[in-house]
Assembly symmetry: C2
Homo-oligomer: 234 residues x 2
């Protein structure tokens, strides 16, 4: 199943269907934040039509990125949800009550919703496993591989990521401190795996070696972040 096409076809059909008035489409500017507790409805499946957002949780000044969302992705939106638009984005809220109602008469939509929730569940369990069993270095390497797959472009010196997340972004993403992220980054540069890091760009000079560091877990990792093809191979 081609995730993006099917998803956008199904969502387009729902938006124009009889439940249209219960579904909200919204434009979000880059940098804008959305807090679940300020929103109505606060219990929804959120679909990303365009752009890029980060879903995160926060507690006493600490943040943890749950998912980076690109077009075709879904996330469960409730009063605890925090979203941060990394680019101008268009999102669609399908309230859970509407979702169940539409699912009653639209079997294709019900199947789509089951698949989306199942994918989110798989990603969440993978996150739990990473936090329980992987140290900062392993979690950071996984995050670097994900960023390379998603945003990297092939270049002479390796895979170029620009703009690149900074140490704080990576720290929030993997639930670590900025300092421990910087320490591992320095180690990867020393080993020649990472060529440069900073000034909003990054070059991964040896992605194969980076991936080998994750080898035993690569199967589950790739399942947790399904993608059509790495951007830098295109």
């Amino acid at each position: 199943m081609s995730r993006n096409n099917s998803s956008s076809d199904i969502v387009d059909r729902i938006i124009r269907g009889p439940a249209a008035r219960r579904i909200q489409c919204r434009q979000i500017r880059a940098g804008q934040m959305i807090c679940g507790e300020d929103e109505e409805p606060s219990d929804a499946l959120l679909y990303v039509r365009s752009g890029r957002l980060r879903s995160f949780v926060s507690n006493e000044g600490k943040e943890l990125t749950l998912f980076v969302l690109v077009p075709g992705d879904c996330v469960r939106f409730n009063s605890d949800t925090l979203l941060d638009a990394l680019r101008d984005s268009e999102i669609i809220f399908v309230p859970m009550s509407a979702l169940r109602e539409i699912g009653r008469t639209d079997a294709e939509f019900a199947g789509w919703a089951i698949l989306q929730l199942d994918r989110l569940l798989d990603r969440s369990v993978q996150l739990v496993k990473d936090m329980a069993f992987c140290d900062v270095k392993q979690r950071l390497i996984r995050a670097l591989c994900d960023v390379a797959d998603r945003d990297g472009r092939g270049g002479d010196a390796g895979i170029v990521i620009a703009p690149s997340p900074n140490a704080d972004d990576f720290a929030n993403r993997i639930g670590a401190t900025r300092q421990s992220v910087s320490t591992v980054m320095a180690e990867l540069i020393r080993c020649g795996i990472l060529h440069r890091f900073g000034q909003q760009s990054m070059v991964i000079s040896d992605i194969a070696r980076l991936r080998r560091e994750l080898a035993p877990d690569r199967r589950t990792s790739s399942r947790s972040a399904p993608q059509a093809a790495p951007a830098w191979e295109a």
Copy 2:
């Protein structure tokens, strides 16, 4: 919606319906383990009809309990899943392919599957938040409150839990070491919150005080482990 009744009605109907041959019912003896990678089908929604099981992940000798499953609960079962029967149990495997197929013609079942996946997702995200933001003491207190709600009986000295999980069980459940669990247990005994711990039973002498320690988070905690009513209030 009364979770247990509706779930068992729906599951009973599916077992007797036209997709019956694709659904597996299985009896598991207490102490028996099930590994997803040994099973066929390995991609299923597992429904607990009776008994009690623990779903956990494991890596290089370390374990982390994801969910303790009681009748009416579901869990996603795939090649990574490990299950441990804590009591004689009856479980039902609904392969994901059958689940999608049944959902196409049975809207009530599709709605049920959506609800089950959504509950699991909510519990998983709560687990991620606990691991990211709560220290061992907070995670252990939450686990103690859950055990008291689920298994506790009212007694003269407080809430009696017998048999009770031991320090290793709690350590696996919250992703901590046995030693740090024992340290917190000793602290709770010293404060008079826990009356006794060991010899397979435990008495929580001041559950109200234990709950107050979690007060700011109690709302999300109760959402993550929905139950009809605490057993010790019955």
